[in-house]
Symmetry: C2
């Protein structure tokens, strides 16, 4: 008899196997067959859990973004200085982006196919709550001197960091899929901008 | 005999008439016929200067962006505080954007038809020089304490302000043509971000 625990465990094993394949060979090039072979299970049992590759791909993305949020939330618990946590978050997201480049997340977001604007918004809202807590913490500790509510600062911060992703050096929006080099360039810019933004919050009139 | 002076004068009169029409009725809805009527000249003489509406439209845009730059450059000459000039520039560009909304600049930029990436880059480069001078001035006067070269700060500042234009509240790039309300919302965000960015430059470790 398959219990809920068993089912969750099998699902997790499938997600891990798919993730490994996706990272090594790219999500587009991986077949359901290959994943079944890696797991030494029949295609039928794989399809029982994930009727198609798109569903599996999405489940993998959900799992790793859950992991990303957990990492960020843990960092929040042990926060001592808001500045350090903000810069940590950029590093964590960069690492996440590099590791999972082959999961074709950027492609999916831009195609607006599998990842809907609603899902994207949910991601942003969750991140917004984390940033709000960091800015509040920094203000309470006297590290920042906020002239606007922390929730508004968090939105502006998100807009600023997200915004540079779409601005190429000629200022036209980049809607192409970024390659590794371009991604690294964007993150370097985010870091420089975050530093100025953070100093702006430290500034006391 | 048509002298160069005469020709320039006639061209200018045509551009002024076209601009008036464009602002009132929109560039798309204006015909070459209507412009000729406003000028009380024959269509033939209008077409002598501008063989098609697209060329006329582009010439109008060049004229008004030249005017925008001249306004900004004059402001630079009388600069007393870098902060004031930076905030002035946002106001000047907003006024420019509102006044010339019907010139369908945003549409042209996004369609990448009439305004090429090269032209866009030239615009950005010229603006970059102005910003660099403001940041240098602020640093020289002790108003700012730059931790990076003024030219790099200027690029980051441009990226930040341009970037928010493409970030909707859900973080997906907005490639639709902004309406008046959306435009006002973006500029309010730019103002808030500019203030934090500027304070970041004032901050002394």
């Amino acid at each position: 008899m398959i219990t809920t625990d068993n089912r969750d465990e099998t699902k997790d094993r499938i997600l891990d196997a798919a993730l490994k394949r996706f990272i090594h060979f790219g999500a587009g090039k991986t077949t359901m067959n290959e994943i079944a072979e890696d797991l030494r299970c029949s295609k039928a049992s794989l399809y029982y859990y994930f009727p198609d590759k798109q569903g599996l791909h999405l489940a993998v993305l959900e799992k790793i973004s859950e992991h990303l949020f957990q990492t960020m939330e843990e960092r929040l618990v042990e926060m001592k200085k808001a500045t350090d946590t903000l810069l940590d978050f950029i590093a964590i997201k960069y690492e996440f982006g590099c590791k999972f480049f082959r999961l074709e997340i950027f492609k999916l977001i831009q195609e607006k196919k599998m990842i809907t604007p609603q899902q994207f918004r949910a991601f942003r809202d969750r991140e917004h709550k984390l940033f709000t807590r960091i800015f509040e913490f920094g203000n309470d500790q006297g590290e920042f001197h906020l002239k606007r509510p922390a929730t508004e600062i968090a939105s502006l911060y998100q807009d600023v960091l997200e915004g540079v992703r779409y601005v190429a050096s000629d200022g036209l929006p980049v809607i192409e899929i970024p390659n590794e080099d371009f991604f690294a360039k964007i993150v370097a810019k985010q870091r420089a901008i975050a530093q100025i933004f953070i100093n702006g919050l430290k500034y006391k009139d």
